[in-house]
Amino acid sequence: MANPRAGSNPYFEMTAAGSDRSRLPPLGAGRRHENRVLASLPPGDLALLTRHLHVATLQPGAVLQHQDHPLEHVYFPHEGLVSLLAITPDGATVEAASVGRGGVVCPLQQSNQRHAFLTAVAQSAMRVSRIAAAQLEVVLNESEAVERALRACRETLLLQLRQNLVCGGLHAVEQRLSRWLLEAADRLESDVLPILATQEHVAQRLGVRRTTVTLLASRLQEAGAIRWGRSRVEILDRARLERMACSCYAGLRERMTPLLPVDPVRATQPPAG
């Protein structure tokens, strides 16, 4: 896996804080941040963060943080999907949680020795804003709104972990696959899942063999719920796929919805000056 240090990492394209602001249109009165958590912050609190945020483009497979290694940055996706994986010593993986533009790849532990709790991998080419963990610490002490937002993100990750524990232990793989497809679509905000959805890839998330995914995908396709193409999956019948998923899908969605970022109330007055 690639080393997350920016300078030597072929998966990262970094822009310095100054130059990316000159390339992107300024976050003016009308334009909201692509990451929904950042977009939900009051402008003053967001400004405390943006001066430390760097935009990066990640390639598919880029590793944002390694399980049990020092945590260097916190990532706010603009798009796409980041998979949070638990890894065994011999390299087997299972997905513990996932984050799209509606969330943050945020620290889970509170201890002084800040290590990454899980390995985070970008699922497709995607833009992110990232901030050094140490700088985020400072902002968390300065801004209650940022602290609240990060706390809600942490809770959504813990809820996912809890649900995946139950699901992985008690539910049939066909149900888990149906649920995984639905949740990926929700985070990506699209019923078409692109390149990230090769069967080998999904097998590593569910902790099963690729053959198992192939056979179950065929059954889901037979039922008319999905179409699984060369390297993309399309959800054709959401209601049917939801019936084939376990209760974890609806249950988790219900618990997570109140914690998701809300659109800020737009100012109705025209800008001053």
């Binding site: 008690l170 539910h171 049939a172 793989v173 066909e174 069967q199 099963v208 063999r209 690729r210 053959t211 198992t212 192939t214 056979l215 179950l216 065929s218 059954r219 396709q221 037979e222 008319g224």
Partner: protein, 129 residues
């Protein structure tokens, strides 16, 4: 390395593993089939008991079958006669599934031949109903 294809016979249909997996030999293929079987049976209750797997090599030649009921731990408490009955029934069910799928394929092909003979185009679906 040789490539093996692990097809699944579920309720009346065959789900095909078109891509297959490269494995060193037949013994490894049997292990792989056993692992996949366990994953499909896991937490499925009795729902997958009648399923079976048929494994082919790259030339499409059948190598072996694996009947889920043979490895079902929930049947361990049953009498040997019961297990024998389940085992035989599953094998018959597997054979019936093969016949049903072959009949479906023949019906589709016959329809195509007839359409061609009449000079008419015909849409053919290869899977689903």
């Amino acid at each position: 390395m040789p490539r093996f294809h692990f097809h699944l016979r579920a309720r009346g249909t065959i789900n095909r593993d078109l891509e297959g997996t490269e494995l060193p030999d037949l013994t490894a293929a049997r292990s792989h089939a056993a692992v996949v079987t366990e994953e499909l049976m896991r937490n499925s209750g009795a729902g997958t008991r009648h399923w079976s797997m048929c494994v082919e090599n790259e030339r499409g030649e059948p190598q072996f079958d694996l009947f889920f009921a043979d490895d079902d731990p929930s049947l361990a408490a049953c009498s040997p006669q019961m297990r024998m009955l389940v085992s035989t029934t599953c094998r018959r069910f597997g054979a019936l599934t093969d016949v049903l799928c072959a009949a479906h394929a023949i019906r589709v092909e016959t329809g195509m031949l007839l359409a061609r003979a009449r000079g008419k185009p015909q849409l053919v679906y290869s899977s689903g109903t």
